[in-house]
Amino acid sequence: MAKSFPVMHFDAVIVGAGGAGMRASLQLAEAGLSVAVLSKVFPTRSHTVAAQGGIGASLGNMSEDSWLWHMYDTIKGSDWLGDQDAIEYMCKTAADVVYELEHFGMPFDRNDDGTLYQRPFGGHSANFGQKPVQRACAVADRTGHALLHTLYQRNVRARTQFLVEWMALDLIRDADGDVVGVTALEMETGEAMILHAKATILATGGAGRIFAASTNAFINTGDGLGMVARAGLPLEDMEMWQFHPTGVAGAGILITEAVRGEGGILLNANGERFMERYAPNLKDLASRDVVSRSMDQEIKEGRGCGPHKDYVLLKLDHLGPDVIIKRLPSIREISIKFANADPIKEPIPVVPTIHYMMGGIPTNVHGQVVAPKDGDPNSVVPGLFAVGECACVSVHGANRLGTNSLLDLIVFGRATGNFIVSENLKAAPHKPLPGDAAEASRARLARIDNATSGESVSAVADTLRKTLQAHCGVFRNQGLLSEGGPRAARDAHLDQRSQQDVQHRARRGARAR
């Protein structure tokens, strides 16, 4: 293999073509910058396609609403741990970015008078928690799909360059610590490249697949987080994960809250409707975290179902075949296909399932990645940005409000694009690449290419997923975590790998000095 890789130059390189990456790229391409968007899958197959519920914005089309009420719901939902300035910006900007999408041609559902229809959603309230309000803008149950297609088409028009089935490998940092691009692999040919950029934006989505039970598609492996960690930068709030209470046991597929809204109930091995004990008022309709914890408690105390007593049951048959066939047809399909149970006759086995990563790469509201340096906890890492689920602007705190993720993507994707445009990058020269720009990636690829023994990646990944599931589940305590940390590091062979990285960094540091 050659000592270095061929180099391509762009004003901006974006890793990830989900909603976040494509919203940012659109802003840049329309401003005339040369933009490359890398994606390891075809852009419209990014995981954003799975989002059904909608995008939250206080348009007030159904009844009075206000961005302040949306802000309150978001902060309350976050367990008061979100960044309130960032949340204020997001909720204030929400209406603008949704109308912008409408003008891009996104086919939102409408009311008879032509305004955008908004549907009810858990946690959305009017007047600071007084009563529910309809705030979610949607395109039937395919909001994410419509968003991706709209953004993709606009990007093609704006001449964004898509590098499809390209896998980003590592960030390139120079001696000052600035990020000047990424290394990447064209998957079809196996050729590695350097993408030299004035701005590098990570938009690689969530990492739900590091857990054994996940509602996320297989591609959600958190690559951007790995790139940042390998570059020696810290991550934020990585302990904060949202569990969805009703993922199909063994498969992960999400069963929407609407099922419990229609009257579905949760039962333990004794056939008891246990939510009556944990939440006497709301019962099965209590919030996601309450239901998840209650289910986990039942399983931990030995009242789980099945041969391993490791799931509970979601019972629907009492609703009658008519309601199930008419109102929950897709749930029935999923249950038959993935749980081998027809809910008209038998209950669906479900478990609390990893759904969303609140933490990630720390950024400010301009999408600039920040890290502690010289006593400043939020020192900007020049050249590096992050948006979407991989980023932690900290608008979700400890718990994301439903429909706020799609909002996060478009608000901060756009804000990051605008910020980069304002930096007038077009006129600025590229910062030179360090001499060893490709070295870390080259060494890693060579090692993998030349390895004649060792474990298979999927076996290692499986062990890691099991460890995280067992030690970082719904309930965590010191004992579990202290045991799980070293185990996870061993599973991922981090010890060995970080040894190499440390040596590599030491070498590079010595040269820089």
């Binding site: 899958v41 799975a50 079809e188 598609a217 399909e333």
Partner: protein, 87 residues
Amino acid sequence: MKIESDPNFLDDRQLARIRWRCRRGLLENDLILARFLDAKGATLTEEQVAMLDTLLALTDNELWDLIAGRCEPEASVRPLVDELRIA
């Protein structure tokens, strides 16, 4: 290195490419396609690969609609859709 292979079956590289294209945005499709490839990947015929390629070019929702039986496929890909439906 030259790989001698049965022309009727896929070589490792072709199979790896198909496996990667079976990485989708919807977990539903991921799971079905993975089951199908685990069971049949090694013995796929050229004809089946052509059908699979056509199906993989669909959007995730179109593909899932076909697999879940919400709509019917064109005759040219019918045999493979039938296999996916029971995978």
